[in-house]
Amino acid sequence: MPPAGIWIDGLAQSCIYVTMAFGMVLVFSILGILNWTHGQFFMLGSIIVYYAVTAWGIPFPIGILISGLLVAALGVLIKKGILDRVKGDLYVGVVTLALIFALEGAASMLFGMEDRGLAIVLPGVLDLGAFSISYQKVAVILFTLVVMTIMYVVLNYTKTGLAIRAAAQQPQAASLYGVSVQKLSLEVMAIGCALAAIAGCIVAPLYPINPFIGRTPMIMALLAIVIGGLGSLTGAIVGGLILGFLNSVIAYYVSYLSEVVLFALVILILLVRPQGLFGEPLK
């Protein structure tokens, strides 16, 4: 049985993937596109909160808010200015791939490539006898709970949330009932990008910050939504949880073969259940 630290770390990893995957699925549900730039919004979130705290002296929680709003605005600009002008899912996918390198390059030029850190935010360790956990990881877990609770309330008890769910299930019927799908798509893009940025912010005290940190979380978020079921918000949460724990536990047992085993397990899940755990059966 792995030690307690492995499970706690798995939970912290899960929180990151859940937040990332949730935003990706939201965008996919309404826009019908896999936003490959999702990882770079994560990266921008980290960088903005870094400067908010260190250069402008803004408290970390406010920095997260500012980061989320700024990246949401950027997401909307990209949607309106670039993605809406490209026809065809393939070409939209290619454009978002190209944006990966464009955003990383821009971040490299503006912020430099060296590693930065926010270890000064919530330093210290909570000693629980048998194991210890950093306050930063506790914050990641608690903050994810708060974000997911807010999303639950928004999606189930607000007009925007109901409109999102309606448009995700039946976009044409939703528009007949007066839902502006075009306006909704911008709102969803904003929320999705903000979630990626928030994920980046909450891990900023845990890991080094540089223009290239978005790649791995993007891949893991993609895996999470594939495991959970493309288009399923519940699936994104469950997929993220499974992936985070598996990643930690498998590495404990098989060390560097963890990626091989993890991806093999993902393939196995998809062979047994191609639509993912919570997705609609494929026709």
Binding site: D115, R116, Y207, Y252
Partner: protein
């Protein structure tokens, strides 16, 4: 009288012209272009960019001395190109240097694309001064017959082993050494390193992690179960910072953590890993003024100190990076001294002949090229192999283990 005056003036003019031409011939200045390929973009970009101002300042100081090869004054012109840390980038940069810039020498190479770069430089008879690693041990990519124009000016492989010995000297009561590297570095070189460590009586345990890993908790747990209390990596700074932080959070505060390679800036580790967790972190030290067991030429110590001052003044803040001294400066001085021995600036066959088995003096120390038996050619230079640790917000010299040449 008038006739004799005219003849005298003409004779004087002839003598002056001949004399000037003679001096010009003796004082001809040759500009030798030298290439430097390293990652200037991408995740490894900071490690390629940071030493460049120091390299340029060193070359300026060297040129001011007007070194001579035969009766020619040699001035070096360093050309920096980005290899993006990839084989394609390395080959592309090498081709530009060789075929467009017409360089005969490439120095300071440390990227992981040695085979791709060497495949361009060797057929063109361009001398490549690089580091060794997995590719250079018997069975690796290096082949002395196919790559006759390669020099291992920085013995990274042997230096890592020396670093481990220096750490053990500093912490003789250690329980077990934990060696950590990404799967990218897995190769036969590690088999040789393991043999050498075992022969030296060092207790160790290896862990490998996939490239891009951010959560090292599983590996730290495995090190704990193996009984390790010193963890030393092979240059992945990101991994080192995260292991440094995560082992502290897991409660293993008395562990010593380090990685090979000089630190760009100790504050980078403090910002990412936390002040308390970072104290005692070990990195390589290349600053020649620290070494006691290896004698370094005082002239080169002074040059290196002057470069630090010049770059600090130019950038308007202290330049703290010390890892540049045993790369381009050391490699360039090997090339220059070999030119002087061979009496030529562009006959790379003659210069390589002077390098093989030759003795050279650089800021890394004075060594004779070795490796005839192990590498198939005596082209491996030495290093003073020192380590430092973070203390406060700075680094302090910790220990050194004089390098011994391989047969």
């Amino acid at each position: 009288m008038k006739k004799w005056c005219v003849i005298s003036v003409v004779l004087l003019a002839v003598v002056m012209v001949l004399g000037l031409n003679g001096s010009a011939a003796a004082e001809e200045t040759v500009v030798v272009k030298v290439g430097n390929i390293s990652p200037l973009s991408g995740p490894a970009g900071p490690w390629g960019q940071t030493p460049i101002p120091a390299y340029d300042a060193f070359v300026e100081l060297l040129n001011k001395e007007n070194p001579k090869v035969g009766n020619k004054i040699v001035h070096f012109k360093l050309i920096h190109l980005d290899d993006q840390g990839t084989p394609e980038g390395g080959a592309s940069a090498a081709k530009r240097l060789v075929y467009e810039e017409k360089v005969k020498f490439i120095v300071g190479h440390w990227s992981w694309n040695f085979p791709a770069v060497a495949a361009v430089t060797n057929p063109a008879k361009v001398i490549l001064v690089a580091r060794n690693g997995n590719e250079s041990v018997p069975g690796g990519a290096y082949n002395p017959k196919k790559m006759p124009y390669v020099v291992f000016g920085t013995p990274s492989y042997e230096e890592w082993i020396s670093d481990v010995k220096a750490i053990v000297a500093a912490y003789p009561n250690y329980k077990k050494f934990g060696i950590v590297d990404s799967t990218q570095g897995k190769g036969i070189g590690w088999d040789y390193a393991d043999k050498e460590l075992t022969a030296s009586g060092i207790r160790f345990h290896h862990e490998w992690y996939p490239v891009g890993t951010q959560d090292y908790t599983p590996y730290i747990s495995r090190f704990k179960e193996a009984g390790c209390d010193i963890i030393f990596g092979s240059g992945d700074v990101l991994a080192a910072m995260l292991i440094l932080k995560q082992r502290w959070e897991m409660g293993y505060k008395d562990w010593v953590i380090g990685t090979s390679g000089a630190m760009l800036d100790p504050n980078m580790f403090i910002n990412v890993s936390g002040y308390d967790a970072s104290q005692g972190f070990i990195g390589q030290n290349a600053a020649p003024w620290h070494f006691k067991k290896t004698k370094i030429n005082p002239k080169y110590i002074q040059m290196c100190e002057d470069v630090m001052k010049i770059v600090s003044e130019k950038q308007g803040k202290p330049y703290v990076y010390e890892g540049w001294m045993d790369w381009v400066p050391s490699h360039l001085l090997i090339v220059l001294q070999a030119m002087q021995k061979a009496g030529t600036v562009d006959d790379t066959d003659a210069i390589m002949k002077a390098i093989r088995g030759g003795t050279f003096d650089t800021p890394a120390g004075k060594y004779t090229m070795s490796g005839a038996k192990t590498y198939g050619s005596p082209i491996v230079f030495g290093t003073a192999a020192g380590i430092c640790k973070i203390q406060g917000y700075k680094t302090v010299f910790l220990s050194e283990n004089p390098w011994k040449p391989l047969p």
